[in-house]
Symmetry: C2
Subunit: 319 residues, 2 copies
């Protein structure tokens, strides 16, 4: 890949931003040094945004919700970047979720940028590349970053670490956990939104609010913020103003500690990178691959069990 | 944990098997040597089963299907173990999918064992612990192993590597990819089952069969086996005999190469273990944690960017 014009990136040029993200996503060894140089250059320009994670099972209406709330942000002058994480496409890098057409209103405005982030094939999990994408968007001038995940588990816990505000969307129902969301994810939420509270679902929605409100009361949270449960309809556009208000309150309440939060996010990113780089070296170091291959022969000839062979390989590395 | 009575395990004692799997799943350092000893002891007794992976999105009817096909296997004298992988519960180790009550008929018989396998918190991905669980079940005398995954991506590609036969379940519909299944997963399938072909869905089912049959023709497969698409209804019990027949044919066709497949699975497991052990050492080695902590301070004091600090840390390890 050709290198990135940093001035163009900082000026907010969308094509340069897209190109920069593609570079970040590259797994090619030959792109590594360019990638690291770029990340170093943008670092002083990153961090000036509010980072919102939005999760929920497929069908809960995340896209329409993000379309609506994103447009509310842009219409008051914010620049909004949406990063969608799609775990369903690990091999091909394509993306089901990243379809811009799902966020029509938002995509049409000049102050929005929508980008799918393939989750597959990342050595250290989804979070480190998503975090790098967030930073690039920030450097390009976006000051509201929305990260969308599909709510099936693993990636939510990673995303929680890189966003400031975590919003869980659920559907109105009688209040049991049949929606496929685990309690663990509820514990992460700074706000629970019961979506599709339109028409006949209003009664069930009330039950959901009650159920999750009591659930939240049982969960010990930090003293700085009390998560709540609100109803909304992205289609009838009810509840949306309240949600934006809650976001604003949250970031007002957190203003003083945001620097500390950013540093903590940096430290966690660093630890993720260490893991990622270790696995990278493991896969690319000549000494290691020699060791790995010779011990694999012990497995194939049934001289050693896989566990024995693996312990032998690793003992070479950590003396 | 107390150690495992290997004789009891080999005799098929279910409580010992359950205990052994719990040991395997343990992430405690103090359980490591016991775990490795156990894996070494069972190794000669493992491998004598047919391993079937079954995947499909939530709601496709995997449980009912496994309940039916599992009971067909047990009723002809096989011992069936079902391992379900649940990515929705990374923190608490609990499991939505593992509910035995979803496989009522099968669970009631004496020749079936059903076990949820938590996917979260595993260093090297889901596959290595699932593979160890499979081996324990084999050592305990189970000769049909069914591994169930929820079809959202990553874990399917891992599971494909540890099973012999990979079955993809889909719902009858008009044949586009709106079911949330990526083409990549279709490529893995040795058999595609269109489930819930009962009542009014029959017409749509025909379309699905045609669509996926043509899709399969476009995919290059090995010459030993031609994947096909069949219709079934776990409720009306149609199509099930045909599917069991296809399984039997598959394992008959593969009989000669099964030893080679087993060796390849062992080699892949070995490589996974190496990755897992490297990350383990990285998290537990004193020299490494000293290095990690001192470089983290550079991040927190903004002297180094996370990328610079991580490169520095890893360069200590790989000289």
């Amino acid at each position: 890949m050709s290198s990135i014009d940093i001035r163009q990136l900082l000026s907010g040029d969308v094509r340069t931003l897209a190109k920069a993200i593609t570079l970040i996503e590259s797994n090619k060894s030959s792109d590594r040094s360019k990638k690291f140089a770029l990340l170093k250059q943008i670092e002083p320009h990153a961090g000036n945004s509010i980072r919102i994670g939005i999760t929920g099972v497929p069908g809960v209406g995340k896209s329409t919700f993000i379309d609506t709330i994103g447009t509310m942000f842009t219409s008051r002058g914010e620049k909004v970047a949406v990063v969608t994480i799609d775990p369903t496409s690990p091999l091909h890098g394509g993306s089901l979720l990243g379809d811009k057409s799902r966020m029509n209103n938002l995509a049409q405005g000049p102050n929005a940028f929508i980008r799918p982030c393939p989750s597959g094939g990342t050595l250290g999990g989804v979070a480190s590349k998503t975090f790098e994408t967030i930073k690039l968007c920030e450097a390009a001038g976006y000051n509201v970053i929305i990260v969308e995940t599909v709510g099936v588990g693993q990636s939510e816990f990673e995303v929680k670490d890189i966003v400031d505000f975590f919003l869980l969307m659920i559907l109105p129902n009688s209040g049991d956990d049949l929606q496929g969301i685990k309690k663990g994810i509820v514990e992460l939420a700074d706000l629970i939104v019961v979506n599709k509270c339109d028409g006949e679902a209003a009664l069930q929605a009330r039950e959901s609010v009650n159920y999750y409100s009591s659930a939240l009361q049982l969960i010990q949270k930090n003293s700085k913020w009390n998560p709540s449960v609100v109803m909304c309809s992205s289609i009838e556009k009810t509840g949306m103003l309240e949600i934006v208000q809650i976001c604003d309150n949250y970031f007002k309440a957190l203003k003083k500690s945001l620097d500390a939060i950013r540093l903590e996010q940096q430290a966690k990113w660093y630890r993720r990178l260490v893991r990622e780089f270790i696995l990278y070296e493991f896969e690319h170091s000549k000494t290691m691959s020699k060791e790995i291959n010779s011990n694999e022969k012990l497995v194939l000839s049934k001289i050693a069990t896989p566990v024995e062979a693996a312990l032998k390989t690793v003992s070479k590395l950590f003396r």
